[in-house]
């Protein structure tokens, strides 16, 4: 007996309907429905270690207008740690100037994933 698990692929906007066949011991027998290789590896990860990129904002001081800076993880983190990550980041304040791509927090979850700035913001001219 095998069980079939269905998921929507989130790798690209196509959103392929993926199916995985699992053996009784949970081993993945087959992945189908994907139209690219990334879809298959997404399904395998999703069944064993689901991960997500996190995008959010952190407090920003010293900028002319912006009070918050958009940030993202430069890799994926375990889905189960998203709320923990949000909590860690709620305590962070960045000071302008900041350049898009700057590392804001190095390896902030011990997952080897950094938090990077999503926007270039200049320092306020009035100091």
């Amino acid at each position: 007996m095998s069980t079939v698990i269905r998921k929507t692929c989130i790798v690209c906007p196509l959103g392929c309907h993926l199916e995985a066949e699992l053996a009784d011991d949970g081993q993945i027998l087959l992945v189908r429905g994907n139209t690219c290789r990334r879809g298959e590896s997404y399904m395998r990860d999703e069944l064993t270690d689901p991960r997500r990129t996190l995008t959010t904002t952190v407090r920003l001081v010293g900028a002319e207008n912006d009070a918050y800076l958009p940030v993202k993880t430069d890799g994926t983190i375990p889905k189960g740690r998203l709320f923990e990550a949000m909590k860690v980041l709620s305590g962070i304040t960045v000071t302008a100037p900041v350049v898009r791509g700057d590392v804001i927090c190095e390896d902030f979850l011990g997952e080897g994933v950094n938090l990077v700035a999503g926007k270039t913001v200049e320092a306020s001219s009035c100091g």
């Binding site: 690209c12 996190l54 958009p70 998203l82 949000m86």
Partner: protein, 421 residues
């Protein structure tokens, strides 16, 4: 009066790309002026902090600010002129642009060509006629997005979302991550208007239920929203008596569609398309007013910003050509139309004497979900292109690219239709 070769109204993704392309086509950077009403360039992308932009343009998934940032950097590197906090008040047939700005005051500038790139805005509660009181706590999804991502305010704690468009889905995840409880998403239609992957990563990931064929029929609360009444709807989208359910909540987000923002266009007397809500254009993106071009969400609402950028490149190139060559002699214009399942076709007309090549495409949307259909392009009733499509849905913009047969037929013909068979 001051003169600019090209004035671009709007500094979002469409305006930025149009400016860059006009410069690439030989217009000096100081002869281009982008007028942006917000305090910074980038448009709505600045508040779209989620990833998913740029897969077609850059082959990677960028956040909104990252996508906008790349174009803003290029506009600056090229030295293209722009003015923020500048609100355009009117444009005239003589291509005079009137605007106000805190630094420049009231200005009139004459333009060699104008590119309209004002984007779109959200449909509001008023457009839906939901019964009930008028308490605080009801926001369009994009307004809530701005409060959360730009201003750092969480608009509420217990949230119901009406409409399953992508902005609503993205906000369901965003507000959940920020500590709100999103109780459910209601969708009037029997299918979601959002991308399947957004249902997976924004709703399923956080166990937020999606109620298809459901709508909000009542709003309760005096000062602040206290709850909404939700009901199931029948095939004609009318609420079914007896299915009403009261849900306690302090926030209702509306994600119920986008409308091209065309007040300037209308006042200028430019002909609009009743279905898209944007100007009628030919394949060079020229509107009914010579020398005035349109691109991006002000023309028709796009699914992906990448396509906005490509359309804006075309508008920028056409504007540059117009300033060099002037108005082309009025040639034969073929109207395009959608039939049997095709809601609209853009461009709405094809200039038979204009550029028609295999890069020229017709964009369209269907009126329902269809499976295994042929998209057929006909000129004067004669089929010239037939493409098989496994799946068509209203939320997905479709294209037909012209081939040599079609181009020859268009040059000799008088009307073009796109239909499903």
């Amino acid at each position: 009066m001051d003169f600019k070769k090209i004035i671009i109204v709007g500094g979002g993704p469409a305006g930025l790309a149009a400016a860059i392309e006009a410069n690439r086509c030989g217009i000096a950077p100081k002869d281009i002026l982008i007028l942006e009403r917000d305090r910074e360039l980038g448009g709505i992308l600045n508040q779209c902090i989620h990833a998913g932009f740029g897969l077609h343009m850059f082959g990677e998934e960028l956040t909104g600010p990252e996508y906008a940032g790349r174009f803003i950097d290029e506009v600056r590197a090229r030295g293209i002129g722009y003015l923020c906090d500048a609100m355009v008040l009117s444009i005239s047939a003589e291509r005079e642009v009137a605007f106000v700005s805190p630094t420049e005051g009231f200005c009139r500038v004459k333009a060699g060509a104008i590119v309209l790139a004002m984007g779109c805005r959200e449909r509001t509660r008023g457009a839906l006629n939901i019964a009930g009181s008028r308490p605080a706590g009801i926001y369009s999804a994009g307004t809530a997005q701005r409060y959360v991502n730009i201003n750092g305010y969480l608009p509420g704690k217990r949230v119901v979302i009406l409409g399953s468009g992508d902005i609503g889905l993205i906000m369901a995840r965003r507000m959940t991550l920020e500590g709100a409880k999103v109780l459910r998403v209601c969708e009037l239609m029997p299918y979601s208007g959002g991308l399947p992957r957004n249902i997976a990563q924004c709703l399923d990931d956080f166990d937020i239920p999606l109620y298809l064929s459901h709508t909000v029929t009542g709003i309760h609360g005096k000062e602040r929203l206290e709850g909404v009444t939700v009901a199931k709807v029948d095939d004609d989208r009318r609420p079914i008596p007896g299915t009403e359910e009261y849900i306690e909540c302090d926030t209702l987000l509306l994600s119920v569609g986008l409308l091209p923002e065309n007040e300037l266009t209308k006042e200028a007397g430019i002909v609009l398309d009743r279905i898209t809500g944007g100007a009628q254009v030919d394949q060079s993106m020229q509107t009914s007013m010579p020398g005035v071009f349109a691109c991006g969400n002000v023309l028709h609402v796009h699914d992906l910003v990448d396509f906005v950028t490509k359309e804006a490149y075309r508008a920028g190139a056409s504007a540059a050509r117009f300033t060099a060559e002037g108005a082309a002699p009025a040639g034969k214009m073929l109207p395009t139309a959608g039939k049997s399942g095709v809601r609209y076709v853009m461009p709405q007309k094809l200039d038979a004497n204009g550029t028609l090549d295999t890069d020229t495409a017709l964009f369209f949307r269907v009126d329902n979900i269809y499976r295994d259909k042929y998209v057929v392009l006909s000129v004067d009733g004669v089929e010239v292109i037939r493409t098989k499509k496994r799946f068509l849905e209203p939320g997905q913009m479709e294209t037909v690219k012209l081939n040599d047969t079609a181009i020859a037929a268009i040059r000799a013909g008088s009307a073009v239709t796109v239909s499903l068979e």
